[in-house]
């Protein structure tokens, strides 16, 4: 009889310092980034490549009278100048958006926002292309602009989309969800009702790498290779096939290293299409890279929601119902990237983390003379706005009831035993233990001590604020039956090949913009197969190299592709079992798995590692009937539900009473993203998201003047936070695995961006309580905070 100590040690189990599977390991992609060896879009140089530049409209609203390109074409280095009229001939002047609208690739009739694409110059070098823009003579007939969404539906408002037949106003949609009658009834009988307008101003994802493309159309074999800064290469391939009429198998999209996406790189911008047109026209590769101002002024913005909120409660603090009407500014074209049938995306999760009797929301979307988009920006399709609304409303209620905001939240959370929890707007939350996260956050912050310190400081006239926010995220779309982008169901593929020597390549459909996919997905395979992560190559970003899938946004990589990778690894493991059985001349059912190895039940010294099995699979072992000679597998994972990460955030601010300057002194973030694959990467994601939150809460806004000029066209005007504005983040976690996800993971990419703005604003408003302030809108700049202290808080839009 075999005794246990005969069993060989299991190196595949790894240890805490060098985990083979989940754990804290350094990112595999970092050596190239820290050495400056990343390969970004603008690093791509192809033989004979031309360069390009886009002429953009200087005004927000104007009829296009004429374009004269004669002088530009006379420039010795200019190869081509393309205008809207040229595109009309190619049937490419208008392209479909991700929200069933169309967007002008180049202006044909009318300019609809400042910075809109008017003409495209292709030249021998980038300098000549830029210089030639000044040689194009455009005549505009300037029209009155509409930049105030509140005036968009006025009878005398200029109609922006007058090219659509029969359109006489700027209304894009009216949409509602929840039971209005039931909600109104709860409100009518509630002890306490509080109302507050809550504005989430227009902000920009502002990735440090701007958008760009290199198009290489091979006229001989008809193949288009398009290098793009895209978060969704496969979806782009299909869209290009549909829009440009190039057969899909003749399109290869390559997304190289991406310098930040945040949702900015989901959509298809006119520049991408123009680069393709330029390459087809010139017969040479064409590079287009936008500059900072172009990125800020013309690419996908985020938010721009004016939310009227009502909250109903009993007098002892039981929240009963929430009601909201939203005025949503979508800009000149409805180009929101979101995968639902609902034009407000996932906004219907505005019921938050609370067990409500009723909820209702209605959203009106309008056109304005502003850049189109309304894409993620780390918002999971409008969850950011939803969480901000509910978390502000709960704080407004706490003040009205004179209750501690943490206590009010604790009193109203959905209880662990209520999961799976169906909320009033149709979501089924998978799992949660909200109270545990809230209590941990309060413990890490020293909540009671902070309140005592605050009371002492108030005595001395010092302004200290403590902000509490709790969020429930909804991420990881599909399931495909409910979620799609232009008809493409939201599922993702994974392919895994284990080479004869036991090294593996996993190919995935999602594309990293800095999230650490090459590490995280290797760790998932490592956990499932017991191969060290460094022996697993993760291939992504090239549609000729990877299986189909919808891409990285809405925190969906781990919930969807993470599931796909776990399942494909399990498929390989099961196949390895069959091959091991053949190698060991044992029935597979007599084999047992330990990390990295199949062994004979009852005789653990007899077994085969994954590497041995891989060699066996490719070797001369007689394989069982129906088993191919490889150790490869592929899957497409269609998630049965979304996942619902959550977190409890506490922020401490100090406000200078003389100047209104806000200093974020402390920030405690407790996150629950289910199973944690690489805690270091999770913390990095949280740190980044929290920093984003500081930006939005304190400084970021895209403003327009009355003439329609965008006032945020550079980093001199559009402020993003630096290390100087953020504290040392204090993070903590709880683990509540997703019950339906193959490894219980929920996604973390956007949690902190969603959860931090309400925590910070709640802290600022709390600091200003001695002045009677119950609400102020972002951004909490010194001037706006000071105005609130004077009783003159105003919405920013």
């Amino acid at each position: 009889m075999t005794v246990i100590h005969d069993r060989p040690s299991n190196p595949a189990a790894g240890d805490e310092d060098r985990p083979i599977g989940y754990g804290r390991i350094q990112r595999k992609e970092d050596p190239r980034f820290v050495r400056g060896q990343g390969h970004y879009l603008d690093d791509i140089v192809l033989p004979g490549m031309l360069h390009s530049a886009i002429l953009r409209a200087p005004v927000a609203h104007a009829r296009l009278v004429s374009i004269d390109t004669t002088n530009a074409l006379a420039h010795p280095k200019v190869v081509a100048v393309i205008t809207g009229k040229d595109l009309l001939g190619l049937k490419l002047a208008w392209a479909p958006t991700l929200s069933a609208d169309v967007q002008a690739v180049l202006v044909t009739d009318k300019v609809r926002f400042q910075g809109q694409e008017v003409a495209f110059v292709v030249a021998e070098d980038r300098y000549a292309a830029r210089d030639a823009l000044e040689l194009i003579d455009v005549e505009y007939d300037v029209l009155p602009p509409l930049v105030d969404a509140r005036k968009a539906l006025d009878p005398d408002a200029p109609v922006i989309r007058d090219e659509i037949e029969g359109r006489t106003d700027n209304r894009i949609f009216d949409w509602e969800i929840g039971d209005k009658a039931e909600t109104d009834a709860v409100f009518a009988s509630a002890d306490v009702v509080v109302s507050q307008e809550v504005v989430y101003p227009r902000v920009h994802p502002a990735p440090l790498e701007t958008c760009g493309a290199v198009a290489d159309f091979d006229a001989v074999n008809g193949k288009l290779t398009l290098y793009e800064t895209t978060q969704a290469p496969h979806a782009h391939r299909t869209l290009f096939a549909i829009v440009a009429g190039i057969p899909e198998h003749k399109i290869r999209i390559v997304s190289p290293d991406i310098g930040g996406g945040f949702g900015n790189k989901v959509g298809i911008y006119p520049g991408y299409i123009l680069a393709v047109v330029g390459s087809i026209v010139s017969g040479r590769p064409v590079k287009w890279v936008e500059d900072r101002s172009e990125n800020l002024m013309s690419t996908s913005f985020a938010r721009d929601y004016i939310m009227q909120g009502d909250i109903a409660a009993t007098k002892d603090g039981k929240i009963l119902a929430l009601r909201t009407h939203v005025l949503a500014d979508h800009g000149a074209f409805n180009a929101t990237a979101q995968p639902t049938k609902n034009p407000a995306g996932f906004f219907s999760i505005f019921t938050g983390s609370y067990d409500l009797k009723a909820a209702y929301c209605s959203v009106t979307g309008v056109y304005t003379n502003k850049a189109p988009g309304g894409v993620a920006y780390a918002c999971s399709f409008r969850v950011t706005e939803a969480v901000y609304l509910v978390e502000r409303m709960v704080d407004v209620l706490a003040r009205k009831l004179n209750m501690d905001p943490a206590e009010l939240r604790l009193k109203n959370f959905i209880k662990p035993e209520q999961f799976p929890y169906a909320n009033k707007t149709g979501w089924v939350y998978d799992s949660g233990n909200y109270e545990a996260a809230m209590r941990l956050s309060m413990q890490l912050a020293g909540y009671e001590d902070l309140r005592r310190e605050q009371a002492e400081k108030r005595e001395r006239g010092e302004l200290m604020g403590i902000g509490v926010a709790f969020f429930t995220e909804v991420v990881g779309a599909g399931p495909r039956k409910h979620f799609d982008i232009v008809g493409l169901g939201m599922a993702d593929g994974a392919e895994l090949r284990v080479h004869p020597t036991g090294k593996a390549v996993v190919r995935i459909s999602v594309q990293s913009q800095g999230q650490g996919h090459e590490t995280t997905f290797a760790q998932i395979v490592a956990e499932e197969l017991g191969i060290p992560p460094e022996d697993i190559e993760v291939v992504h970003g090239d549609t000729d190299q990877t299986p189909f899938g919808l891409g990285t946004y809405g925190s969906r990589s781990t919930p969807v592709s993470g599931g796909a990778v776990a399942l494909v690894a399990r498929k390989v493991r099961e196949k390895a079992k069959l091959i091991a059985g053949a190698m060991l001349e044992t029935r597979p059912e007599d084999l047992e798995w330990e990390k990295g190895r199949w062994f004979v039940k009852g005789d653990p010294s007899v077994g085969k590692t994954i590497a041995e099995i891989a060699m066996g699979a490719h070797g001369t072992v007689a394989l069982p009937e129906g088993v191919d000679g490889n150790l490869d597998a592929e899957v497409t994972y269609d998630p049965p539900n979304l996942t619902f990460p959550f977190g409890a955030y506490i922020c401490v601010v100090d406000v200078d009473p003389g100047t209104g300057q806000v200093k974020v002194r402390r920030f405690v973030a407790v996150d629950d993203c289910g199973t944690r694959i690489n805690p270091m990467i999770i913390e990095g994601q949280v740190h980044g998201g929290l920093t984003d939150g500081v930006g939005m809460a304190l400084m970021e806004i895209i403003e327009f003047d009355e003439a329609g000029n965008c006032l945020a066209g550079s980093f001199m005007d559009y402020l993003i936070p630096t290390a100087m504005e953020v504290p040392d983040w204090e993070t903590g976690f709880t683990v509540t695995p997703s019950p339906h996800h193959p490894i219980g993971a929920k996604g973390i990419g956007e949690s902190a961006t969603v959860g931090s703005p309400p925590a910070i604003v709640n802290a600022v408003v709390d600091a200003l309580a001695p002045f009677g302030v119950t609400h102020m809108d972002m951004p909490c700049t010194p001037a706006r905070v000071w105005a609130a202290m004077q009783g003159r808080a105003r919405p920013p839009i």
């Binding site: 101002s293 402020l719 936070p721 100087m724 001037a783 105005a787």
Partner: protein
């Protein structure tokens, strides 16, 4: 990448050479030192010089020298050098106060005091610092050298007395005993332009009363010193009431414009608040110097 309009570039080898080049290339030439104001404006094509005359090799203009009762600072002295100079901090603590809040280390490593003054951005900090310290500007040109007071040097936003064919070479600061100075700025974010800022220098008499004082404002629509404030302070013993009085005068003297950084009322409030703060600190420093 933002691309400026086409231009030519030449590197000066000496002050004389720089002056020759300025004369040769005329009104469409610009001197570049640190370049952190000029180059962004060129990239946005708001500024379109035909020639850039690079003076970064003019090491003769990069110095901090004590010369009797004057401190002489070369126009090509980098912000970082000023920030790190203990001698400057001891004599004129306002300089370190200001340098700490000028942009970020990357900009401070390149940007120069001469460039800052000649750019004359209304939100530029060192102009106020030089005003309250009553600095002198040493300018050279084809007609030789001239020395101007700050009130002669400033000509309003983006304009100075330095002629197209001239070069600002040096700033001179008078060293006075029992003098303290301070600077404070409010910005929306580190590295942003000032919403508003104030600087003050105070010289105390032996009896502890104010012998001389200067208050200046940045980005608040006042090109010169707050003259009334100095008049009120002189001969008085510094206390909170006096600071408050000076603050009110600064608020009345300023003429800010509303922009994304804030409305007029807030900026006017800052003139008041920050004036009080810098006076409080400058007086404390002056008293400390007196004791020391």
């Amino acid at each position: 990448m933002q691309i400026p309009a086409p231009f030519d570039y030449v590197r000066a080898t000496s002050v004389d050479n720089a002056l020759e080049l300025l004369a040769r290339y005329g009104p469409e030439s610009r001197v570049v030192a640190g370049g952190h104001s000029l180059l962004p404006m060129m990239k946005l094509r708001l500024s379109r010089p035909e020639w850039l005359i690079d003076i970064n090799d003019l090491y003769e203009l990069d110095f901090i020298l004590r010369d009797g009762n004057k401190l002489r600072v070369g126009a090509l002295t980098r912000h970082t050098t000023l920030l790190e100079s203990d001698e400057v901090a001891a004599l004129f603590p306002i300089v370190r106060d200001a340098e700490l809040v000028i942009a970020d280390p990357v900009v401070r490593n390149r940007g120069t005091i001469g460039g800052s003054l000649c750019q004359a951005d209304p939100a530029e900090d060192l102009s106020t610092v030089c005003d309250v310290l009553a600095a002198e500007a040493v300018i050279r040109g084809p007609r030789g050298e001239r020395i101007l007071s700050m009130s002669e040097f400033h000509r309003g936003p983006y304009e100075t007395a330095v002629g197209q064919d001239e070069l600002l070479c040096e700033l001179r600061f008078g060293i006075r005993p029992r003098t303290g100075s301070a600077y404070e700025k409010v910005e929306r974010r580190v590295g942003d332009w000032a919403v508003g800022a104030a600087g003050a220098a105070v010289t105390l008499a032996a009896d502890g009363t104010v012998d001389d004082a200067a208050v200046g404002l940045t980005a608040l629509g006042l090109d010169h010193l707050v003259a009334d404030a100095a008049a009120v302070l002189r001969g008085r013993r510094p206390d909170e009431e006096l600071f408050a009085q000076a603050g009110r005068l600064a608020a009345a003297a300023c003429d800010p414009v509303a922009d994304q950084r804030g409305p007029v009322d807030y900026k006017r409030h800052l003139a008041d608040e920050l004036t009080q703060r810098v006076l409080r600190r400058a007086c404390a420093r002056a008293a400390q110097m007196q004791e020391g």
